[in-house]
């Protein structure tokens, strides 16, 4: 193709997106579009899979049968999200194995929030309420993103995430209406998860490198700072209902902006965790790599068995 032809295709492509048309796997797309989507979608899939670990940590110790079943179902949902996000990403010409390899070698990222430890039962409430809450704010706009398979996957993911968030909030509510010890457990969890949840919405606009292009492709519809403000404004009244205190002495309603002002985020901590030096980065990655390596003989057996079965079938047919 000549340079001019490519430019022409690109113009048509951008026009389609501007008209809110969906791009489908077999459509022509600029290489950069493909690569950007592989990066973001696989990162999203990895977040679901790594995100199973901090909550999985409490399945065997859930305090009641009802909570155990709900937690199992929730973590299973995350596996399901991972599965269809990996499948959606595969439509861009990359295999699940390749994506895993990038994750295991530290080349692909996942949401930093999962590099914090879950040390009490209240963390199951705080993760549902805050982490899933922030995730929803990030993800709802993606239901209208330009790449068809991603948009469709996100519609399903968002429905389930909003259920998870209510479930998490309900855990917090029960703790806050319980004994003083339970309420203290809830407050402690909020203290530990509040700031990492704010960081989850990404670096400040000034430092965010991908935003402009992503806006054009509808991979992003609001800036990180706007999303963060939306999250805070939505969450503070929920904390009030619980009777919990947000651990930010600068948090204050701003009448003029009709929004909350809030304190300085510790971006040094954010970058430390992103760069792989958070409290649980190494542990999480080891768990993923172990699962993959210890499962190799099982996957190999399944392949070998399927081949043998096929061979027998062909022999019979002859």
């Amino acid at each position: 193709m000549s340079e001019e032809q490519i430019k022409n295709l690109e113009a048509q492509f951008e026009a389609r997106i501007a008209r809110d048309e969906k791009i489908e796997p077999k459509d022509w797309m600029p290489e950069k579009y493909r690569k950007t989507h592989i990066r973001q979608m696989s990162q999203h899939a990895h977040s679901e899979i790594v995100g199973m670990l901090p909550e999985g940590n409490w399945i065997t110790r859930a305090p009641s049968l009802r909570r155990k079943v709900a937690l199992l179902a929730k973590v299973q949902d995350e596996a399901g999200h991972g599965l269809y996000l990996y499948s959606a990403t595969e439509t861009l010409g990359v295999s699940r194995e390749e994506m895993y390899e990038q994750l295991h070698k530290g080349k692909a990222k996942y949401s930093s929030i999962f590099n914090y430890p879950t040390i009490t039962w209240a963390d199951m409430g705080a993760i549902g309420w805050l982490v899933d809450g922030a995730a929803i704010i990030n993800q709802v706009p993606l239901c209208n993103t330009s790449y068809g398979p991603y948009a469709r996957a996100m519609i399903r993911v968002c429905k389930e995430e909003s259920f998870h968030q209510r479930q998490g909030y309900e855990i917090m509510l029960k703790l806050c209406n319980g004994t003083p010890e339970q309420k203290e457990m809830a407050q402690d969890a909020l203290n530990r998860w509040w700031w990492p949840s704010l960081m989850m919405l990404g670096p400040t606009d000034a430092e965010s490198i991908h935003t402009e292009q992503s806006m054009k492709w509808k991979l992003k519809r609001k800036s990180n700072d706007d999303l963060r403000q939306q999250f805070i404004d939505q969450t503070v009244p929920q904390a009030d209902i619980l009777g919990l205190t947000i651990p930010d002495s600068d948090l204050k309603w701003n009448e003029e902006r009709q929004s909350y002002d809030f304190g300085e985020i510790n971006w040094d901590e954010f970058w430390q965790v992103v760069k792989g030096h958070g409290p649980m980065n190494k542990v999480r990655m080891k768990a993923r790599v172990d699962a993959w390596e210890n499962g190799k003989w099982v996957r190999d057996a399944a392949m070998a068995h399927a081949e043998k079965k096929q061979e027998r079938k062909e022999k019979l047919a002859m």
């Binding site: 110790r61 305090p63 010890e181 003989w297 043998k308």
Partner: protein
Amino acid sequence: MNKNLYKYLLGIADNSLILGQRLGELCGHGPSLETDIACTNMSLDLLGQVRSYYQYAAKIAGDGRTEDDIAMLRKEREYFNVLLVEQPNTDFGYTMARQFLFDVYHFLMLTELEKSTDLNLSAIAKKSIKEVSYHKRFSSDWIKRLGDGTEESHKRIQTAINDLWTYTDELFHQTEADKAMVAEGVGVDVTKLKGAYYEEVNAVLEEATLSVPESKYFQKGGKQGIHTEHMGYLLADLQYMQRAYPNMEW
């Protein structure tokens, strides 16, 4: 309270509780996403069944205890599950072998339990049997895949079957409560399931190109509350919150 019925219920429910707990340990660590999801599914099914049994048991006990009190606040000697289900997830081979050796029994038992004169039990059995027929298909398929897969998988699954075989005979033992319930038409006479069980298990092993273990030495004790050393650790996890924070609601 009908003590025999209560104890009979625990005998059935504890198997599902402990196996469900074991499967729950694996969530997030499976060899593939698909197997991870499937194992979590089985855990969910089993724990769902457990809740029905314990809710019924709580009603029979009539002493204010809840399903959670029964599930999480007994001493180790008061759990009556068979030794098989408490065996650890040594690797995926052991997990599938344990599952398979239990599923074949579980399916046969539920098929009979559905005919119980106790309508509650019969209803739980009816609901559970659909789930367990899926479990049995899943675990049998994996026995075949691993047995007739690679040299390594064949060796691993054969080792797991050999090691767990010693716990199969206990499935067909009866406690005094079991006998009383059979006499009343409520319980299942598990001694009668033994023939069909080994026939089915052996057929799958054969198709999987595995050999049927020849050992005639079997372990027992779970049905009397005498467990293997693994059980205490499993209960420490299961009971942690209820023990550390007594008398609270979650």
